[in-house]
Every structure is written in structure tokens, then in C-alpha cells.
């Protein structure tokens, strides 16, 4: 009886400690090639890239779906090195899905706008327009912070996202972008018509030029987005 019991214990010990020695290989995901094409091509859902949709995380073309972003800052750091507007779209759409940070919706819209500028993809144009609207509808008062390296001490400066949208839509060429609404030579008017349908308006104001803070007479025309009453 005692021998049987000892045998039982030893067998159990073997099973208990030996069972964990398994484990096969997994799929290597150390490196993922980035798509540098200029066409948006495939959307996982109609609202991909628009708050609060997070289907971009399931889009097989999204190289960042399983990337290890510990915080918002890490997205910005990676953004600097990305080779194409398409990859930037996926980056910011991923950030929007994961963090829902207000400025990321604007960055999704801007990257789609850039993609349209690069390849003229009509789907990118439509999604860019929808993304701008989503940024206004959902995050109208949000700020976009950037390091003002043109100023002494390189302070962090906050700019209203709504005004950046106004600039991108109404002053596209100056921003290196193709206007989203034709005719292109009536950029401001078309932009005002577009946002007017959404309940907003774009107003031009004269404002000090922040890039030359020592010369108060230097001014620039600033595009200001306002919500219609």
C-alpha cells in the first residue's frame, strides 16, 4: 500500500511539473512591412477612422493594430518616421480607436487629406471630409499642442484644432494640400459652403504673427472656425 502511494505521489509530481514543458512556436511579428501606396483601398467599415468606430483595429491592412504604444506621445514619435500618408492614416486611426484623444480625429482627417493630395483617391477625399466633420462635431473645443521651436525656449503652444481644420479646408494650397471641394480656385468659398452645411462658418481675422514675436507689426491672416448660432 505504501509503495503504491509513493508511486502515486511521484507520478503526480512528474505530471505536475512536466506538463508545462510544452509550447510550440508562434507567429513572428518582429517586423511588419509598411504600405507606401497612395490609395486608401479597403475600409473595414464605412465609419473606419471616425469616432467612436474602432474597426480599424481589425483591418488587416493596418500595420499598427498590434503595435505597442504605451501612450499618446509614442504615436507622435513614430509619426515622424512614417513613410507615407497612408501609414499616417492608420497610425492616427489606431490612436483614435485606442485612446479617443481629441486631436487624433483631426490628425486622421489631415492624413486622409494628405493621402488624397498624393494619389487623388476619391475614397480618401470622402473619408477626409467626414473625419473633419467628426472632429468638429465631437471635439470642437479641443486643442492641438505643439512645440514652438521657432520661439525662444521652444515652449509648448496650444492651437485650437477647429482653426487648423479651417486652415486645411479654406487655405489648402498654402498647407500643401489639394482642396477637397472643387472648383479649387474658390477654396475659401467652397470650404465655407461645406462647413456651413454642418452648422459652422469660417471667418478670417488679422492676428499677430507668432513666428516673429519681436515685431508686433507683423501680422498674418488667421482662419477661425466658428459654430453658427
Amino acid at each position: 500500500m505504501r509503495t503504491t502511494a509513493y508511486g502515486l505521489v511521484i507520478l503526480s509530481l512528474f505530471l505536475v511539473t512536466g506538463i508545462g514543458c510544452g509550447g510550440g512556436g508562434g507567429t513572428d511579428k518582429t517586423e511588419v512591412p509598411l504600405d507606401t501606396s497612395t490609395q486608401l483601398g479597403f475600409l473595414r467599415s464605412e465609419d473606419e477612422g471616425l469616432f467612436p468606430d474602432d474597426s480599424v483595429l481589425d483591418n488587416p491592412n493596418n500595420p499598427f493594430a498590434n503595435s505597442a504604444f504605451p501612450d499618446l506621445e509614442s504615436y507622435f514619435e513614430l509619426n515622424e518616421d512614417l513613410p507615407s500618408a497612408l501609414t499616417r492614416y492608420y497610425l492616427w486611426a489606431t490612436a483614435l480607436a485606442n485612446l479617443a484623444a481629441p486631436e487624433t480625429q483631426f490628425l486622421v482627417a489631415q492624413s486622409l487629406h494628405e493621402l488624397y493630395t498624393e494619389g487623388g483617391d476619391p475614397l480618401a477625399r470622402v473619408q477626409a471630409i467626414r473625419a473633419y466633420r467628426s472632429a468638429l462635431d465631437n471635439f470642437f473645443d479641443s486643442k492641438f499642442f505643439f512645440t514652438a521651436d521657432f520661439l525662444t525656449g521652444e515652449p509648448l503652444v496650444g492651437t485650437a484644432v477647429k482653426n487648423l481644420i479651417a486652415e486645411n479646408l479654406a487655405n489648402s494650397f498654402e498647407r500643401g494640400l489639394t482642396p477637397l471641394v472643387e472648383p479649387f480656385d474658390e477654396n475659401l468659398g467652397q470650404a465655407q459652403a461645406l462647413v456651413g452645411e454642418w452648422g459652422y462658418s469660417i471667418r478670417l481675422v488679422i492676428a499677430p504673427d507668432l513666428t516673429t514675436p519681436n515685431d508686433p507689426n507683423d501680422t498674418v491672416v488667421q482662419y477661425v472656425m466658428e459654430r453658427n448660432l
Partner: protein, 1059 residues
């Protein structure tokens, strides 16, 4: 001078002097009666007991006194003398009125009180040593199972009995000495000598050791005091042949007999096989009818009458066996602790715990019918005006009064029969029933207010910034009022329950103790602002001005009234159904739940901080309190943080073999709106099996298995391979399995070593780890590990020394944080530490490492365990303490930890995980009783520990806690903590540290100042207290602002009243 005559006169004077002295001494000694010699006498009529030469028939009861709400640890003899006297006077009068002349007790009555009862009420006592029936301390080791074959055990018991007899020798009022209490029913130890015998022979072999020890002790005891007879307390007449053979020095056979109305052939057999007189040490009948589920005084009285009638008939001179010398009816008062022993102490449980077909009035086949809490011939109630637990005589009491009016030695058998026939049982029962109904209609109507309490607080709270900026006005003054009302109901015979309503007035504001029960009122606070602009207001200089008045209105949207707790029990034939809402519930670990799937839910105070309402659910108990069999529990939150689940368990014990199987199925996730206060995770399915073998000499072998998290099969997780590549893998079936083996060596004197090995797959998560003897080993509920543990319990005299080691490896290590990067058109996505919200498993408190510790415990008495949760209150030793040291080395970092955020009502990730580190802890706790009325309790801890999630350095912390408690209920407590976390879990999760924390609380129980009648009838406790807390702020304190805010404090004055 006649020298002879002179001598004669001289002798005469001496003789006269001696005579006078003798008379004086005689008169002196008659005022303080000596202990009378008690003998057993046999003549043609049979056996009789003689006290001081006079025949003495034992008209006895088993006497006990346990107030409602107390359990077996209650010790009347430690109470103030005035109170003891009040109790003895109360019961002495009642017993004397019933004709009772002797009592037997389980707790030793101090000699002075035995004499008191004897002198005041003529009631004698038997001194009964239990002989290790419920365990015994041998060589400083508490042994719950007494081995009567062990020489050391035998010697220890013998020595103890002899000491006891020496103490009681010469005490007036002692009738006889008794040994044991059904010890023949508790022979379960194992040993080489008897192991291989067939079951019957094995039992007999063990019994022989018991009875030879009885003989040894009686012989030794008689050398100390031979003026009293000696008896044993046998379970019925089992092993009668052994008693005859092995205990020749026995004077009287004492026996506990539950054979129903008649003792059947007992008299005849004892006379024929033993030839000694019989005294029943227990017999009787309970007063509860398990069939009709109601109190049944008539049945109890009827059984008791017939039992006594037979005892009378079998006594001296009645022409029958003539060997009955009386007995002790079980029992005097009801005891409300007996079922479950530590639970429901303020309720008289109606669950029958064992079965006896001889009590036919309520016996149903395959069902239990003996109700342990209903054996009294006296029902009990709240304290009377003297503070003595109220006594309500049942019909059995009056029946006994009628029986004891008859002296069997002065009456013939016909006269006895006639006297008992004349007892009007119908009238006695009817009268008692009317009394009961009248009492119950007063005390226990269908629905009644059973008690409650009130607490009022006045709080002053501030910090340095407030004081600096606003001076005295910066101190936040607030107040709080709590009212609790306890209700009981009984909607049907089988349905009863209770609930408590909490009513809040205000909740105070504190800067330190921010979370407490009742601040739901503050959490619901809404401030509304109104602006009023009167037209044409005139300024001081006559100008027209516009004025704006801002007016704030506070709306309390948090509920002022809420259901605090609720429980109800429906007792049906196949099962008991218990529904529970925020009432304490215990784990099933001693019933086969080796992986701890059912967490204990007794931290009601902890839950109250967050107004959490666990546990919520229902239990179907098919075991009907016997533990073996099926149990099923289900509910939305059956323990704190549980997902909605159903759990079913089957446990069975068959001799030396036990096994259990348990399945838990979770059906969803405790979600937003359900006010979860702890981390909940996705639902999991778990099944465990467990077996234990005890039948190999000196070895206890446990085998267990778990299958958990099968729903996660196919889930993906990332890892870093040994070559540094990042891989994605899937959870396999193998990852859901686990197993454990534990071997405990039980046969070595004073040493109890054990070793265990366990494997749990990546997602094979268990439940609450089982921690014993104050261990600090870093157990974890989670899988992903191979674990080895070993330890040795060393029991030296009054010490326990317990060294233990634990080693753990992870099957998958924690992930490092590698942020994504891009080179050209190639993305390296990096890898994140896992977390249990987004990944199927993670490495947190189940991290790899080793841990070693040693604990020393000084506890001279094993009856009140040092590590019991309520040891502060129940410890019976004058001095107990422990000290121990644990060192743990964590070799690797962890993954990310989670924290439940009440703000987001979701789990949030606390950084990238904890770094590898070595931590340690020293702790000591002591309890000292300088007098019977005072307890001094202290605890000191020094430790280097990590947070529970937030990154940051490990912390060296020191804490000293002191408390002084008096029997009257006053207390003084204080603490000082250096560099410690705060009192709430989240503060350790977030790694908040306060450089110094101090606290002081004094409570003055003013119950004694109330009129006695009011105090005893309406008030349980009333008192005034003051509680202060002060802490300094540092870099890691959330409120810290250098130069602005460096400290904060709360001062609370409170009053409480419990009724």
C-alpha cells in the same frame, strides 16, 4: 497535698479545656461545612450513593450558561463576582425550586462557586475532566485528535487530572469525579499497532488504550482524594466488556444515553456484565419538532417523564435491577451557539444536526431530527434587569418539579408510578405553551424590530494650506448621523430571515478618512447655482448698480435610506435555501475547494468603505448542514468582485478518503451600474477536483486538478522569444490545465513537515489562496506558474516554529516594454507588458521568485488559536505573541497591473509593471492580560515592499499599533506609521506614501452609567469616543504642495448606542 489528686485535678482541667475546645471547634466547623465523604453502597435492595452517611439520589441536570450571542469560548467565571453571583442566585433558586440537587458542567466551576451553590441552594456538583475529548495540549502542542496510545499524551492527561483533583480536594459541594465525555465516540487516530486490524478490532484496540488510561487515572486520583467516588462518561454502554476488564477501580458507570423513552436493556446488561451502579451523565429530549418545524414542549416533557420514571423504577429497593442512582438531564438552558458554533449566535437555529430514530415524535427516515440548540428545559431570552440571561421554564421543567418531589428511596414502585401518573401533563404543557405563546407574541411576532444602533459624529478636518489661508475658519466642521434598524421576520414555519435598514442624516467630511460607510450621501451631492439680478439697486453713493447674487443649493441625490443587509432561509426537506445580501459568507476550503474558487466574503467593513453590497446570491444546501453532499450557490456577486455565476460542489468523505468536485460557470461581467468596487475580469469557466488520502500511516496525500479558462482557447498573446524575436501565440487547451500534489507527514512527534508541487497553465487561474498561521509567502490565485513549497511545523512545548519556503517559475515571463519604431518602410511594432483586461493572462503577483520565512508563535493554550480573526477578544492565555521574518526575491519584472477606477467605472492600467527587487517583512503581534479585566494588544511591522501596480521604488515602512481593551468595553488605541501607504488599497496601488501617520482613539463605555434595568433590557452598549488622525505630506502624497501644504488631520468626536 495529694500529688495524685493534684494531678487528677490538673488532668480534669485539661480534659475540661479540651472538651471546651472541641465544642468550640465543632461549632466553628459546623458554620463552614467540610467536604462530606461520598460512598457507593450495595445491599440487598441494590446500589445507593451515600453522602455523609445519608442516601443520596442524583436528581441532576447538565448545567450551562451561555448568553445569546456568545459561543463556547464564553467564560462566566471570568466575569465580575457580582455578575457570577447574580447568575448562580438566579439559576440556583430555579433549580432548588425544581428539586434539583446536583449539576454536571463541561466548564470547570471554580471551587468557591461550587461551595457557594452547595451552601446557598444545597446543590452539589460533579467535577468532570474531559480527558482530551476535544483535543489536548501535549508538550506544548495542541492536538485536535487525542491519541490515547501515545505515552506522552497519556502522561500529560494523567498529570492534568491529578492536578485538577488536588485543586478540588476538600471542596464542600463536590459529589464525585468524572472523566471524559463520550470519548469512545472519538477514537480516530492512526498508529502502527492498530493500523492493520479489521475495522471493529481497530476500534476496540483504540478503545482499550482509552479504558486502561481511565483506570490508571482513577488509581492515581484516588491516591489524591479517596473521599469521592469516580466515574467515567461513556457513550452509551459501548465497550462494556472492556470497561469491566480494564477499569476495575471504577465506582460508578457514567453514561450518556439517547435511547428515546426507555433505556431498554441497559440496566440488565450493566448489572450482568459490569456489576456497578449506573448514573446517566446525559439523557433527555430536545424541545423542537423537526417534522412540524415548531417548538414541541409536550413531546419533550413526555419523554423526560418516562425516562425518569424508568430510572426511579430501576433504583434501590424497587425490586428490579436496583442499579440506578440517578442522572443528569441534558440540559438546563438552551444554548444558541451549538449549531455551526461561531455563526448565527444571536439566533436559535432550527436545523436538526443529527438523526435518532428512538425519538419517534419527529423522526422521519433519512432525515435529521435532533436539534442541538433546543435541549434545554429552560428557554432563554434577552438579559433581565440583573443582566442575567432570561430563563423561561418549559413544560419539562414543571414536569421535573413534579417528579423530583418524589423520593425513590422513601416510595415504593407503586407509589412512584402513582405520583407520576398524577402529574397533569396536559395542564403543565398547556400552561407552558400559553407562557411561550404570550412571550413569542411579544418578542417574535411575524415581523419585529430586533435591535439596532445609532452613531453620531462631529468632525473637524483641515490641512496646512487651509489653516494658513483661512486660519481657524479653514477647519472644515461637519457632522454625521447613522441609524441602523434590525428587523426579523418569520413568514412561515420554514421561512425566516432578517434585514437591516440604514438611515443616514449627514455624512461628515474628512480629509484623511475619505471613504467610509454612509458617504454615499456626499457622493450624490449636487450643487446648483442661481444668479439673481435685482433691478434698480442703489449703490452706497446713490448710483444705480447691477448686483449679482450667487446662491448655492445643495441637493442630496445619494440615497439617505438604503437596505444595508438581508438574509432569509427557507428550510425544505431536500435542501435549505439561503438568500444573502451583504451578509458574511465563508469559503469552502475545508470542504474540498482546494483552489479557493469561492472566496470568503467576511470583510463587510472593507466593502462598506465603497458601499459595495457583496455578497449577493442564494445557496441551495442539500447537505442540510452536514457539509457532505451537494451545495449550489448562484448570484450576481457571490463574493466581492465576483462575476455573476453558478457554482456547484459535491464533497464526500469515505473513511480515510475524501474527494470533491466543483464547477463554476460565470455568465457575464459585473458591469457599469452594478457598482463594482474591485477589479472584475471577463467571465471564466472553472472545474476542479480534489482527493485526500489519510490511510497510510503518518502520511496525508492530497491530489488536485483544475481546468479553467477554456473559453480563452484561441486567444492570442505576444511574447519575446529567447532569441529576442516578438512572437504571437494562441492559448491552447493545455494552457487551461493545472495540477497539484501535496504530501504532509503526520506521524513524527512534534514535527509536521509538508511539501507540495503545483502546475497551473497560462490561463488556469484559481481563486483565493489559502493562508495559514500568518504566512507572508507570496501566494497567487493566477496560473502561468510552476510552484514548489515546503515547510515544517515544529511544536515545542508552548511554542510553534514554522519555517517555510516557496519557489515559483512562470511558464511565460512578463513582456518588456519595446516601443514601436520604423526603419525605412519596415515597422517594428514593439511589445507591451500584458494586462488582464486586454490579454488572456499576465504576470503580476504570480511573478517568478523565491520566498523564505520563519515564524515563532508562543501560545500556551491551543483552544483559542492565535491566528483566529477574533483572537483579540477570545484569547484565553495571559500572554501570547509571535514574531517572524519573510524574505522574498523577485527575479523578474511584472506585466502591467490593473486598478479599478470608480471615476471611469472601468479597469485602468497602472504603468508598465514592477521591476525585479528583493523585499522583506518583519512582524510581531502580542496580547498580554495583566489582569482578568484588561487586554494589552500590540503589533509592530517593518517591511520593504513594492506597490500593487504603480511604478516606483520599493518602500521601507514601519508601523506600530497598540490597543488596550477592558472587559467593560472601554478601549484606548493608537498607531504610528512611518513611510507607509494609507488605509485604502488604492493608495498602495498608486504608491501614495505619507512620511508619518499617527492615530489615537479613546472610547468610554457609558453603559454602566445607565440604570441597570434600562441597560439590561434595552441597551447593548453605549459610549463616547474621540478619534484623531494626523499625517504629514511628502513628495509621494497626492495632497502635497511644497511650502504650502505639509500636513492634514481629522478629529472625530462620536457617540454610539446599540440596542
Amino acid at each position: 497535698m495529694d500529688a495524685r489528686g493534684g494531678r487528677g485535678r490538673s488532668l480534669g482541667r485539661w480534659a475540661a479545656a479540651i472538651l471546651i475546645l472541641a465544642v468550640l471547634l465543632g461549632s466553628f466547623s459546623s458554620s463552614a461545612p467540610a467536604s462530606e465523604k461520598v460512598t457507593v453502597f450495595l445491599d440487598d435492595g441494590g446500589w445507593r450513593l451515600k453522602v455523609g452517611g445519608s442516601a443520596y439520589f442524583v436528581k441532576g441536570v447538565v448545567w450551562s450558561y451561555t448568553p445569546i450571542g456568545e459561543t463556547f469560548t464564553f467564560n462566566l467565571w471570568e466575569r465580575p463576582e457580582e455578575h457570577i453571583k447574580a447568575v448562580l442566585d438566579h439559576d440556583g433558586k430555579l433549580m432548588k425550586a425544581a428539586g434539583i440537587n446536583t449539576i454536571r458542567t463541561f466548564a470547570q466551576i471554580p471551587p468557591k462557586w461550587i461551595t457557594y451553590l452547595y451552601e446557598e441552594y444545597g446543590i452539589m456538583t460533579i467535577v468532570n475532566h474531559l480527558m482530551g475529548r476535544y483535543g489536548f495540549t501535549v508538550g506544548g502542542i495542541w492536538r485536535p485528535q487525542t491519541d490515547y496510545s501515545d505515552p506522552a499524551t497519556r502522561a500529560a492527561i494523567k498529570e492534568d487530572v491529578v492536578e485538577l483533583i488536588a485543586r478540588y480536594k476538600g471542596t464542600p459541594g463536590v459529589l464525585m469525579y468524572a472523566l471524559g465525555n463520550e470519548n469512545n465516540y472519538g477514537l480516530y487516530w492512526t498508529g502502527t499497532e492498530i493500523q492493520d486490524l479489521p475495522e471493529d478490532e481497530r476500534q476496540k484496540g483504540m478503545a482499550r488504550h482509552l479504558y486502561t488510561l481511565f483506570e490508571e487515572i482513577i488509581v492515581a486520583g484516588k491516591k489524591v482524594d479517596d473521599s469521592k467516588p469516580w466515574t467515567i462518561v461513556n457513550g452509551d454502554i459501548q465497550f462494556l466488556d472492556l470497561i469491566a476488564e480494564e477499569v476495575p477501580s471504577l465506582d460508578i458507570l457514567g453514561s450518556n444515553v439517547y435511547r428515546g423513552r426507555s433505556f431498554t436493556d441497559l440496566w440488565e446488561r450493566v448489572k450482568a456484565e459490569l456489576g456497578k451502579p449506573v448514573c446517566f451523565m446525559e439523557f433527555g429530549c430536545d424541545a423542537f419538532n423537526a417534522r412540524t418545524f415548531t417548538e414541541d414542549q409536550a413531546a419533550q416533557a413526555s419523554y423526560i417523564r418516562d425516562q425518569w420514571k424508568e430510572i426511579y423504577e430501576k433504583s434501590w429497593g424497587q425490586g428490579q435491577e436496583g442499579n440506578a442512582i440517578g442522572g443528569f438531564l441534558f440540559e438546563w438552558r438552551d444554548e444558541w451557539w451549538k449549531y455551526l458554533q461561531t455563526e448565527n449566535l444571536d439566533k436559535q437555529d432550527k436545523t436538526a444536526s443529527w438523526s435518532n430514530g428512538a425519538y419517534k415524535f419527529d423522526y422521519v427516515e433519512k432525515s435529521t431530527n435532533m436539534n442541538e440548540e433546543w435541549f434545554g428545559i429552560i428557554a432563554i431570552g434577552p438579559p433581565n434587569a440583573d443582566g442575567v440571561t432570561a430563563a423561561y421554564p418549559r413544560a419539562a421543567y414543571y414536569t421535573l418539579q413534579g417528579i423530583f418531589a418524589v423520593d425513590p428511596y422513601e416510595s415504593s414502585i407503586t407509589e412512584v408510578a402513582e405520583a407520576l401518573r398524577e402529574l397533569d401533563m396536559d395542564k403543565i404543557t398547556l400552561t407552558s405553551e400559553i407562557r411561550r405563546l404570550s412571550r413569542e407574541s411579544r418578542d417574535r411576532s411575524m415581523f419585529r424590530l430586533a435591535g439596532g444602533g445609532f452613531r453620531g459624529e462631529f468632525v473637524a478636518s483641515a490641512d496646512e494650506q487651509l489653516i494658513k489661508e483661512e486660519g481657524q475658519k479653514g477647519v472644515i466642521m461637519s457632522h454625521g448621523e447613522w441609524l441602523f434598524l434590525d428587523f426579523e421576520f418569520q413568514l412561515a414555519k420554514v421561512l425566516q430571515g432578517r434585514f437591516t435598514i440604514n438611515v443616514m442624516g449627514n455624512a461628515p467630511e474628512r480629509l484623511i478618512e475619505t471613504e467610509f460607510y454612509g458617504n454615499r450621501v456626499n457622493k450624490g451631492e449636487v450643487v446648483e447655482t442661481f444668479q439673481v439680478e435685482p433691478d434698480g439697486a442703489i449703490g452706497p453713493d446713490g448710483e444705480e448698480v447691477d448686483l449679482e447674487f450667487t446662491q448655492k443649493r445643495t441637493i442630496r441625490s445619494g440615497s439617505q435610506i438604503e437596505l444595508y443587509d438581508f438574509e432569509a432561509k427557507l428550510s425544505l426537506n431536500p435542501f435549505d435555501l439561503l438568500t444573502f445580501y451583504h451578509t458574511p459568507r465563508y469559503h469552502w476550503r475545508y470542504e474540498g475547494d482546494v483552489y479557493g474558487l469561492l472566496w470568503e466574503a467576511t470583510d463587510i467593513k472593507g466593502m462598506d468603505l465603497w458601499n459595495a453590497k457583496a455578497p449577493i446570491g442564494a445557496e441551495f444546501d442539500f447537505t442540510k448542514g452536514k457539509r457532505e453532499g451537494f451545495k449550489l450557490v448562484l448570484g450576481p456577486e457571490v463574493y466581492w468582485g465576483a462575476n455573476p455565476l453558478v457554482m456547484v460542489k459535491y464533497w464526500r468523505k469515505m473513511g480515510d478518503f475524501q474527494f470533491s468536485i466543483l464547477h463554476s460557470e460565470e455568465f457575464g461581467r459585473f458591469s457599469e451600474g452594478d457598482s463594482p468596487s474591485v477589479i472584475t475580469l471577463d467571465p471564466v469557466r472553472r472545474t476542479t477536483v480534489w482527493t485526500r488520502f489519510d490511510h497510510i500511516e503518518g502520511l496525508q496525500i492530497e491530489l488536485a486538478g483544475i481546468m479553467a479558462g477554456t473559453e480563452r482557447i484561441g486567444d492570442e498573446y505576444d511574447r519575446v522569444s529567447s532569441s529576442g524575436r516578438i512572437e504571437e501565440r494562441e492559448i491552447d487547451f493545455e494552457d487551461t490545465l493545472g495540477g497539484k500534489v501535496k504530501v504532509t507527514v503526520d506521524g513524527i512527534d512534534r514535527i509536521r513537515p509538508y511539501a507540495s508541487a503545483a502546475y497551473q497553465g497560462l490561463v488556469a487561474d484559481g481563486g483565493e489562496p489559502h493562508k495559514e498561521f500568518g504566512t507572508l509567502l507570496p501566494y497567487s490565485q493566477f496560473g502561468n506558474k510552476i510552484e514548489y513549497e515546503a515547510g515544517v511545523g515544529i511544536f515545542l512545548e508552548e511554542w510553534i516554529i514554522f519555517p517555510r519556503v516557496l519557489y515559483r517559475e512562470n511558464l511565460e515571463e512578463a513582456n518588456p516594454l519595446i516601443e514601436p519604431s520604423v526603419e525605412g518602410t519596415v515597422l517594428q511594432p514593439g511589445i507591451l507588458p500584458r494586462n488582464r483586461e486586454d490579454d488572456p493572462f499576465s504576470v503580476t503577483d504570480n511573478r517568478q521568485g523565491w520566498s523564505a520565512e520563519i515564524f515563532f508563535t508562543y501560545d500556551p493554550t491551543g483552544g483559542t488559536g492565535f491566528y483566529e480573526w477574533n483572537n483579540d477578544e477570545i484569547e484565553d492565555s495571559d500572554l501570547v505573541f509571535n514574531f517572524g521574518f519573510n524574505y522574498t526575491s523577485y527575479d523578474t519584472k511584472t506585466d502591467s497591473w490593473l486598478r479599478y477606477s470608480p471615476t471611469f467605472q472601468d479597469n485602468v492600467v497602472l504603468g508598465p509593471g514592477l521591476e525585479p527587487d528583493d523585499v522583506w517583512a518583519f512582524s510581531t503581534r502580542w496580547l498580554y492580560k495583566p489582569t482578568a479585566d484588561l487586554r494589552l494588544i500590540g503589533k509592530f511591522e517593518a517591511a520593504r515592499e513594492q506597490s500593487w501596480g504603480a511604478p516606483g521604488p520599493s518602500r521601507d515602512q514601519y508601523g506600530l499599533h497598540l490597543k488596550a481593551l477592558t472587559r467593560e468595553g472601554h478601549f484606548l488605541a493608537g498607531y504610528a506609521i512611518k513611510d507607509g501607504w494609507g488605509p485604502y488599497d488604492f493608495q498602495r496601488q498608486l504608491n501614495f506614501i505619507w512620511p508619518w501617520q499617527f492615530g489615537l482613539e479613546a472610547f468610554w463605555d457609558i453603559s454602566q452609567l445607565m440604570p441597570k434595568s434600562v441597560r439590561n433590557r434595552y441597551g447593548k452598549r453605549a459610549g463616547l469616543g474621540v478619534r484623531t488622525q494626523y499625517r504629514t505630506l511628502g513628495d509621494d502624497s497626492p495632497e502635497y504642495e511644497p511650502g504650502v501644504n505639509g500636513y492634514e488631520f481629522d478629529v472625530t468626536l462620536y457617540f454610539k448606542f446599540e440596542f
